[in-house]
Structure formats: C-alpha cells, structure tokens
Symmetry: none
C-alpha cells in the first residue's frame, strides 16, 4: 500500500477519458450502495461495463480508485467555491463564507452515502490528504479570502486561521450531512456553522463579547 495513487497513464484521448469517467462513476455507485467492504474491482468493472483488465489499465490498484474519487470530489468542491465567489465579488467575509457553506452543504446532499464512504473510509489509505492538489487549491483560496479581509479579523496567523476554518467547516458539514446526520433542522445547523466561523474570525474585538 505504499505506492501513491497515481493513474498509470495520463489519459488524453477522449475515449480513455470517457473510460476513466465511467470507471469512477461505477466506483462511486458501488461504494455508495455497498460500502468499502462490499466493493471490489470486479464489481466496479462490471458496473462500468468494462473488463477488470481495463480498470487496471488506468488505475494501479483498488485504492487508487477511491483516491481518484476523493480528488474528483475535492475538485468539485473547489469549483463550487470559485463559482460562488465569482458571483459575489466585493462582499463581506461573513457573506462569502456563508455562501461557501451553503454551496458545499447543497453539494454534499446529493450523494450523502458516497460522501460517508469517502470521508469515513478514505483517509485510511496512507495517502496524506494534503497531498491532494485540489485540497491545496481550496486551502489557498480560503487563505486568500482571509487576507482580503485581514483588517477585520481577530486571528492574526492567517495560515492557522485558514486551517481552522477549513477543518471545522468540512467536518461540521460532513457531520451534518453524512448519515445519520444532524438531529437538528438542516437550516439551523447550517446557520450554526456559519456563526461558528464568523464568531471565530470576528469574535473578540466587540467590547460586549466578554
């Protein structure tokens, strides 16, 4: 399990691209429906309508499938974030964070079972999650966001603040969405997440905040 989940060959031809996509799609399906323990490469191949051999043409091993799925998810989250921010260029940090939280919550609600598997079962592959390019981009973007509003922030170490914001945002969203999910109304939970982030970032300078 030491080799990194790098696709064996970078597929550029559209046919290969489609193949990779359908394999990934199949992986997501099987993973959602049967969990990690119930997922195996033959099943994925069958579901994708290709042979096992073809799966191994593009993915060095079973775990790389999940790795790729995780990266795809991170990429989608990054895109969602960019899309949302592009639509609200010069607004306040609170509004921007709120928009991100809402967008991510919405995105996760589409396939909660898959995200459960991805979140709960993925990390155990030795792949350090921070190696993911998409994760890096997300981090960078949040960092940039904080810098843009540096003046109003309580935390001074923006790297640390970005890390804290991202970690708690992600884990709260996951906890809220992933089965069994929040015991509370989803909108209230969403608001609480936003409040928490804002409280941290803007938190203390208010004189009445004891």
């Amino acid at each position: 399990m030491p080799d990194l989940p790098q696709p064996r060959r970078i597929p550029r031809q559209s046919r290969s691209r489609a193949l990779v996509d359908s394999i990934l799609e199949a992986t997501a399906h099987v993973l959602s429906e049967r969990g990690y323990a119930g997922t195996n490469t033959n099943l994925v191949a069958e579901r994708a309508g290709v042979s096992v051999g073809s799966v191994y043409q593009y993915f060095p091993n079973k775990d790389s499938l999940i790795s790729a799925l995780h990266e795809r998810h991170a990429t989608e989250m990054h895109a969602a974030m960019e899309a949302v921010l592009a639509g609200m260029p010069s607004q306040g940090l609170r509004a921007q964070l709120a928009a991100i939280v809402r967008a991510w919550m919405a995105a996760h609600q589409i396939a909660p079972e898959l995200h459960r598997v991805l979140e709960k079962e993925f990390p155990f592959f030795d792949a350090p999650p921070d190696q993911s390019p998409a994760d890096q981009s997300i981090y960078a973007r949040v960092h940039q966001l904080l810098e843009a509003h540096r003046d109003g922030l309580v935390p001074q170490d923006l790297s640390l603040a970005a890390w804290v914001v991202l970690q708690s945002m992600e884990s709260l969203i996951h906890a809220a969405i992933i089965p069994p999910g929040t015991p509370h109304p989803i909108e209230k939970t969403e608001q609480a997440i936003i409040d928490m982030l804002t409280g941290y970032l803007h938190g203390g300078q208010q004189p009445d905040s004891r």
Copy 2:
C-alpha cells in the same frame, strides 16, 4: 452487522477481565502498527498471547474488537473531562472548555497512531457513533455545561450548540494530532480551537461584523 459491540459473555471473573483487556491492548497495538487492513484476528490473538478461539470467546467478530476499543476511548475521554471539571467547580465557560480541550489534546498525544485508526477507520462499521453510551455521556455533560452558563450565550438552541461544539472540538483535535497533524505549533492550534469555540458561544451577535 448492526448489533456488534456486545461481548459474547460478560466477563466478571478477574481472569476473564484480564483476558479481555489484553486482547483489547493487543488490538490497539496491531491497529496502530499495521492499520485496519493489516490487522487480523490471528495477529491480535498472537500478540495478546492467547489463541484465536479465546478472542472469539469474548468478541463475536473482528469488528467488535474495534468497536470495543472505540468505546474504551470514549469512556476515557469522558473520564478525563469529568476529572478536569471536578477540579474547577465554579469557573467561566471559556476556562472550562479550554481545560477540556487541553486535557483531550494531551490524551490524544499519547497514541496518535491508534487514534488515527480509531477515528479514521472505525466509523465505517455501520455502528452509529451515537449509540455509544460514553459518547452520550459526553454530549450530556457538554449540554449541561452550556446550560449552566446559558445567560452569557449567543446560541439559544443549546442542543444544537452542544452538537456544534462537540463536533468541531473533536474534529479539530483529531486533525491537529492525528498524523500528519497540524502544520502549526501545537499550543497555537490549541488556542485557536478554544478561540473558535468561545467565538461561537459568546461571539457574533454584532450586526457590524464585516
């Protein structure tokens, strides 16, 4: 697999108790060193110095080992929390939360690898985490803590607030400690976690918060 974590027989004699403990200890060791995928019942038995049969005398299956380990961890965290709070009866909420965070951080630093496996690889058994009695106790205690300081709190729904506080506290601690851990100094991270919780609970009512 829905009703696992019940030991096959309730061990009352000290010999049985010791056996169960050594099996659990062995599980923790093997899990830490080899991860879930590399852990198997024969290995655990060997490490515990007993036969596989004995393992199955007390645990219905492999997963129940991890279940039990998880419960043990939750129980320890609950105890740590109680111990810390007992030593500071009538202090402010911030101080109390800070104490809990520090105690838990310290506790997790003892066997970070084990916690990585427990946190990251355990949840994939369908066992809903909320079924755990120890987890319930922890939640109840935090809820009680918030109630005792209800007057100074911004969030009004204390159930929700307890859920948010617990989720973010736990996930941030895990993210900080579990390999690869924070890229930031541990004390600063710790402080940031405390700030976040306090910011949420005491923080953001300010309309001018931009």
Copy 3:
C-alpha cells in the same frame, strides 16, 4: 475417525444412565432441528444441561453420539418387532410381516426428521452397520421367521431372503416416511410394501395371494 464408537465406560449407576440418556435425547433433538452440519458437541451439552466435559466422559467423540443414537433406534425397532410378534404367535408369514411393517412405519412417523438424519447421515461414519448388535438381532429374528415358514417359501436360501426382505423393508419404510416422503397415501404405500415382500417370498404358488 478410525476408532469405534464404543462408550468410554459402561454406565451402570442410575445417575450415569440418566446422564447418558439425557445426552442422547439432546443429540436427537439438535440433530432433528439442525441436521448433522448444524450439530456440535457444545450445543448438545448445553441442550442436555451438562458440560461438554461430561459428554466426553461417556462418549469418546462426536460421532459416537450418533452411533449410539442409531443403536438405540435399532434396539427400539427390535423391541417393537418382538412385541408385535409376541401378540400373534401362530399366524401366517404374511400377517406377521404386515404387522412388523405397520409397527415400524408407526414408529418412524414419530420423529421423521431425526430418522432422516440418522438414516441419511449416519452411514458415513466408518462404523460397519452390521456390527450393531441390535441389527444382528433383527436379522436373526427375521431369519427365524422365514425358517418357521420355510415350506411355503419360493426362495430357498433363507439367509439371502432375510437380507433382501430386511433391506427392502427398511429402505421402503425410510423412503416413505423420511421427508419428503411418499407422494402416495401412506396406507397404500404400506400395503405395497407388504405386497412386495409377500410377492417375493411366496412367489406364485398361492392363487389367493392378492
């Protein structure tokens, strides 16, 4: 599997006798309800209300349990035969065979599932069935019966005839009773068995033999 199913010690004390009986009874129950594959010594011991160790006090191994059960059954069948014949001292062979068939059919109908297991799963232990004392007695009695009516018999080799009669009688009764049993009414089947035996033994000389 080479050692013969001889009880370790011949129990003479009444307490031992009762123990052996309850173990045998438990074996019969478990065997009936779960089949050979589902039967194990611990289950039998539990059902009998004794410890496994006690089972091994009286039976050298698992198979000897079934052996003993088989022997018990054969003994019962022998007794039933003797009882029936004792009540009809000087009647015709046909009537006597008919009485035996009816008695055995009735006896087998009490616990068909157990007999299924006994008949179908027992023979596979290397114990040669003819070693059984009770089986020997049954054979001897049938042989004696034929001798008593030697004059009216077509077959001249009475040893062979006794073997044929016993084999077909037993197998037809088993086939009739053991699930799924005959597809025909039990009385008609019973009559057919009697007809077959009589047809063989009396062959053709009786014009009234229908």
Copy 4:
C-alpha cells in the same frame, strides 16, 4: 442452501468444459478416498490441477460439487437404462427389469466407494432428490415400462408401483454393492432382486416364474 446445483457460469467452451470435468473427476476421487469429512475444496483443486479460485468459478460452494456428482451419476444411470432397453425392444417386463438391474449393478461395481459416499453422504444436503432432472427421467421411464405391460400387472396404481420398484431396486443394488456389500454371491443377490421386483409386479400368479 436450497438452490445449489447451478454452476456459476454455464461452460460452453471446450476448455471450461474440460475444467469442470476435471474438477468433478477430482471430487469423485477425493470423495472416494477420504469420504465427505476428509474432503475439502483445496484438496479437490489440487487433485484437479487447478487453483481453488477456479473451483469457485464454476461451483458456488463445496456442496454443489457433490450435487453435481450426484446428478452426473443419475444421468449415467438413466443413459445405461435407455441403452439396455434400446437393445431389447419387445421383450417381457421381467426380462427388461432384469436387464436394468444387471446394467446398474455392473455400473455400480466400477467405483463402489464413490457410490457409497454419494448414496450415503449426499442426501444430507437438503437438496430433494426428486428435484434432479435425471432422477425424474428415470422415474418416468420406469413408469412408461409398467404401462406398456399394464395387463400382466397385479398393482393397479402404476405411479405407486413405479415408486416402489425404483426405491427397492436402487436400495437393494446399493446395499449389495456399497461396502461392506452383500454377504452373498453377487449373482444370487442380483437374481433375488429381480425375483423380488417380479414377485411384486406379477404377484406370482405365473407358475413359470421361478
């Protein structure tokens, strides 16, 4: 375990066919030499010169191996019966039954140990023997035989008669051949079986039937 005997995939290519055959052959060998208890899938695979995986490619589980063997045997017996009858189109029932008995006796003498296992150890899988297509065909053929000679028969219910004839014929042949076998000369036993069947069917009114 109710619907076993279906091979996982229907082998059409000659290579697969050969594989299935060699696995079955290996099963027969191992079963003959070591009995059911001593038979395991790894042994079968080894003997067949294939890997365990290949065994499971064509047979869903261990028991289905024996199921298949049983069906193969029934098919062979059916074929033997047809072959024999084809060679004696318009002869008397007695002659035809005699021919079948002789053919089956001969067939069983080839691998008595295997038949012992098949007959004695097989039925304990819940597979109802009557489900077997080959068994059905055999029954149908015997029924047809009786119908063709209906006029000379004492039994009027031909279904019942066919059942009785088949049951006793098979069980007597098995008892004669399967170790430890008859204590009587094989030819005399064979003749006795034929006499029994004829005695039942013709009731003995034929004075020439000795």
